[in-house]
Symmetry: C2
Subunit: 437 residues, 2 copies
């Protein structure tokens, strides 16, 4: 069995297990358990760290159900292979070369060397960040909810934010709209989302002080920063006077909310204003930001920031009649550019096919459907409100889109890099690989 | 001045001249002349052979106004440079190398050799086809309208169809809906559209009996055939029972109408059923077909059939981990693939930007706007009915989109092929150039 298949079947197995648990009577407050299709949808949404929900997380599930969801988020976010290694390490088992290959795939890494060390630091860094986030949120919510609930909410939302999952416990599909003007909550959640979305390789690179930053790290930081800033400025300008979104808020809160709504497209899925009331033009821009998504090997989704910059540079090179795509004095290898095009085209094709299906099966307008499908593909979790009202066909289509969105780019990238460097390429500048998808 | 600039300024000059003529009191039946913005829009639509109309052609214009429009369609369709050569030949003027370069650009050809001969045969073939079309239509309409009107309608609609312009004289924005079940009119118009959309090089290749068909010709014929067939089958299945489109028609007419509506996306703009009543899913597929459009160097628009097949093959090659894009035992050169990506990405970018502007300036839903923008970019001319109701900003945006859609791919391709073959490429199979954009 190829690593790609192991990953697909592994993710599917975790989803199935989670769905079975959510279907148990203990999982829901009505004592009936979740109907199976809704259970599969919710489990897929959790494992694929999307956050699209057909039932309200806070009011539908018991503590047991919510912990199952949180566990699936953690497993899905950090990757079940990372978890498998963790267990292997805990049990002192030897890690085989084949298992290392699986890990390489799970983390979208190009070298098998040091993969176990990397996995360990992935887990250490992740838990450290999640713990800090949980602490800050707990301290902030203590006065509102008391220690016990504050701690529970702190842990849940810190893990949900760092894993770009977007699940929340505030009820009535309201996400974080109650805290639109709260700087501590906004900044903490934003930092968790951003750190989770940069990718483990970037985090590890940033935490290794002695050496120069990789090209990949520099690109990810610059592109992510530019996307967040551009998105926030665009949202601020477009929605400034919208009486249903930013309009009634004081100026400082307007800026905070604009940044939060921009950060959430990288692909967290929390929101602090009612995005279904945003103007069409703003929603169109958010669809693009969700499509681009987060960075490679992160808890986020989308085609990835590096894929986006690779295709932009490729087009600009063609405009200049230059066959080589050059970035910061390095040539991006031709097969990387080809991968970027393949990923982007496959994503557009997938979104179009699912959109066509939904245009037939659902009663919503095209914009609402395109927003939903792009959100599912990018494992974002934002919705204009139709998720709970999806038809059976619609739920299945969206669940499959979340699954392909989460698993696809990774497995596709593996298939694509598997036999790389079999053909030499003409090189003008020294090569350096950046990660794609 | 570069050839690309000459073409842009030339097209713009023809549009401006046409707009001034349409603004004359003699041009409109109310004796007031067309308001300037509407005149510019109509002239742009005619010269760019699009067919989107803000006023009804039959009831608004006098014979003079209609002949101005027909002349602009002919100039725009065959390319004003082809016309310039025609005049040069008539006047016996020597054609300079620079003028040949301009012609090469106008026809999207890769070699300067034989360009005058090609231009002559372009004009001969075009007029021969248009004359045959006009004759058949005149004979068909004689019994309905009498000789004089039948001849006028025959000439107008033959030229409009062969040039993929989509302007009609049947009033009330009704296009050819009155003739949905008429096989002679449907088949004649379809053949004119298809022949005009294949491109002059393909027509010349087909009319030269001694030699083997070029790779380009084979690809264009196969892809065009496949697109028409697939579109027709999809429309037939989706709309079969739609009471507002194919539903009430007898089965033979259903098939005829499905084929006509498929052919019209290649990018003629006539319609025989009310497309605004089609289902969302059908309209989505038509948006894709309009985006792909017709073939290079033809009277049609869109990214072009060869561009479409080039990016599909490129993605499939990447899936198979093959750096070379191979088709029928030939390698498609790398810079051609790069051009295909650049054209497609630029087109998507343009459509998205214009869509964003319209989502702000107009009151229509996203699907209607996307259909309109794609129709304008592909110089198709189909509309769900909003063209006459566009705001001033909307009219300007759509007019610019038609202009870039018609001029852009050609000029872009010129810029891109200008310095080609400066870098050698690795070749596994013998190379053969196919045209892009
Ligand atoms: K998410
Ligand atoms: K047209």
């Amino acid at each position: 069995m190829t690593p790609a298949r192991v990953l697909v079947f592994g993710f599917a197995a975790v989803i199935l297990l989670g769905a079975l648990l959510l279907a148990l009577p203990q999982a829901t407050q009505d004592g009936l358990g979740l109907p199976f299709l809704n259970a599969v949808f919710t489990a897929t949404s959790a494992v694929c760290v999307t956050g699209l929900v057909v039932v309200d997380t806070a009011t539908t599930f018991t503590y047991f159900g919510q912990w199952v969801i949180l566990l699936m988020i953690q497993v899905g976010g950090l990757g079940f292979m990372t978890f498998a290694t963790l267990f292997a390490m805990i049990l002192g088992k030897k890690i085989t070369f084949k298992e290392r290959l699986l890990l390489q795939e799970a983390l979208n890494q190009v070298s098998v060397e040091g993969i176990v060390r990397l996995t360990k630091s992935v887990l250490q860094i992740s838990f450290a960040i999640e713990t800090m986030g949980a602490l800050i949120l707990t301290l902030r919510w203590y006065s509102d909810f008391g220690w016990s609930k504050a701690l529970y909410y702190g842990i849940f939302h810190s893990i949900s934010a760092f894993n770009n999952a977007g699940f929340d416990l505030f009820g009535n599909f309201s996400s974080l709209t109650a805290f639109v003007g709260d700087p501590i909550i906004n900044i903490t959640i934003m930092l968790l989302i951003i750190l989770g979305g940069l990718g483990f390789i970037v985090l590890a690179d940033l935490l290794t002080p002695q050496k120069k930053l990789r090209l990949h790290t520099k690109i990810v930081l610059q592109v992510s920063g530019a996307l967040i800033l551009f998105g926030a400025v665009f949202i601020l300008i477009m929605e400034f006077a919208n009486p249903k979104t930013l309009g009634p808020l004081p100026i400082g809160t307007k800026v905070l909310a604009a940044f939060f709504q921009s950060v959430t497209t990288r692909t967290a899925g929390f929101n602090t204003i009612d995005i279904s009331n945003m103007y069409e033009t703003t929603l169109l821009s958010m669809i693009v930001f969700m499509f681009i998504g987060a960075s490679s090997g992160s808890t986020g989704g989308g085609i990835k920031t590096t894929t986006f910059i690779a295709i932009i540079l490729s087009v600009l090179s063609t405009y200049r009649n230059n066959l080589h795509v050059v970035l910061k004095g390095r040539t991006i290898p031709r097969e990387v550019i080809a991968k970027a095009w393949a990923i982007t085209t496959s994503a557009i094709f997938l979104i179009f096919i699912v959109l066509s299906i939904l245009s037939h099966s659902e009663n919503s307008d095209l914009q609402t459907l395109l927003f939903e499908v792009t959100s599912a593909f990018g494992t974002v979790g934002l919705s204009l409100g139709i998720t709970p009202h999806l038809s059976v066909a619609g739920k299945i289509a969206i669940a499959l889109t979340m699954f392909i969105g989460r698993v696809g780019p990774l497995t596709l990238a593996f298939f694509l890099t598997q036999k790389r460097n079999k053909l030499s390429t003409q090189i003008k500048y020294p090569d350096e690989r950046i990660m794609i998808g």
